[in-house]
Symmetry: C2
Subunit: 317 residues, 2 copies
Amino acid sequence: MHILILGAAGMIGRKLTAAIAAGGLPTNRLTLADVTAPTPPDAIPTTALAVNLANPGIATRLVADRPDLIFHLAAVVSGEAEVDFDKGYAVNLDASRALLEAIRTLPGYHPRLVFASSLAAFGGPFPDLIPDDFHPTPLTSYGTQKAITELLISDYSRRGILDGISLRLPTICIRPGAPNRAASGFFSSILREPLAGLPATLPVPDTTRHWFASPRSATGFFLHAARIDTAQIGPRRAVNMPGLSATVAEEIEALRRVAGQKAVDLITRIPDPTIAAIVGNWAGNFAPARATALGFRADASFDDIIRAYLQDDAPGT
Amino acid sequence: MHILILGAAGMIGRKLTAAIAAGGLPTNRLTLADVTAPTPPDAIPTTALAVNLANPGIATRLVADRPDLIFHLAAVVSGEAEVDFDKGYAVNLDASRALLEAIRTLPGYHPRLVFASSLAAFGGPFPDLIPDDFHPTPLTSYGTQKAITELLISDYSRRGILDGISLRLPTICIRPGAPNRAASGFFSSILREPLAGLPATLPVPDTTRHWFASPRSATGFFLHAARIDTAQIGPRRAVNMPGLSATVAEEIEALRRVAGQKAVDLITRIPDPTIAAIVGNWAGNFAPARATALGFRADASFDDIIRAYLQDDAPGT
């Protein structure tokens, strides 16, 4: 099986590549694409390309060899899509549509397409427990672009052009490495930095509740989505992924259990009304019945999320 | 006030033009555009243009004079958008987006935009009574294109580029004139043809329930949406319009009351499994609480719908 990963140099893209290379999916050929050249894994014949999917002709070139399975993770993150209107729409909407159109123009080609969508497709006010059929009413341009791409993938799937599934991912935590421009960054940094003995800032109240998945779980969602029988999904091709609902206080308690009070003491509360207002509109808890029935599995506790981070991303800590 | 109507030569576009000309909205200038030249009303200075909004540069030209209020009714209907993939996306999605982009590029311009969306943004299975926050999961390309345009209008409104509202219209009944390519055509023709002494065919069971508004009510929705305080709407700019929930049997009983058994006898039942399957996925009954609170009003009975048709469209009958 020939697998194409778009956005392969991103955090989840790299972990997904490694999981596939470790036998997570049967493959004899990988194509990895991102705006900076992804690193090919050992052991699998790989083409690594530094290309921008938003540029003319790139989507056509990437699917010309008819990869059997496409992971589409290429995106501008939420903060950047809000600041740069044109770039957000160009990458998150137009490039996605160019990919679908490139597939449509190849007669008889019908790949599985797994798309990284987001709970940003939803916007508040929310019920305490958000059902699978809660209506997408995004409150950011990023969420709008994700929701639109979901609709396109459902329509192209219904028409038999491709076999798509959109994964509405929880906020990924603990995100390794340096902060990106996502407003959700502090959810990771209040754990990641103290685990490394570094100070961290908490801009929202401890009572803030949110919906999380570890990078390990998210990688698992993509592998599972590649193998699933999409006949079970029906025409509603966007699926809310499972996650862990937790407050900031619960995050911090898990940090205390795993790394002690000394780690917790590295967190300083500096309220930021702007971030608090943005995050206050976010979803806190879902009832992901469809995804659970389809076999998707999330983290059981924040202790597990922290331990997965220490094992996968910070083994020297 | 300068008012621009896109799709002004269509059925609702013509009625809306007439209602505005009759004093429904204060205006001293009209611009009417459609693929065939709309007929200017008497009494108001009008520019009537035969243009295709899907062609390059047309949207920019239409908003160059900065109309204060834009009604966007230009569309390819559901049946045609399903048969002709490219045309449907070009007109119903790309032309709509070109309009939004043309507005965005004019500094300081912030028009009210009223968009003709549709209950086709929804797809079954449905609850018996569909709430305002039911999730859009369209099952046609037409519904997909409408749902995407709604999302764009909400995002452009949230960003302060324009002041938009998307009206999710019920099925319009009784549609005057010749049938179009919509699968919903029989809902009108089983009344319209017998009222004119002509035979009509019913392709679905009498128990089929659906959601209706007369052209008169729909015109009223647009006039009301132009005047409304959009601060009351909030960021969810797509609003389910009120309507009348009725079965085919109730339609026929109203026909009997208004026009007698002789009219009813002109209906012949010729089951069409294809149409029955399409219509079986459609919504039967909504609880349009938001629209009602915003002051939108629908028809009270099918007798009223028939009488409105006889007064407005078939006065000689």
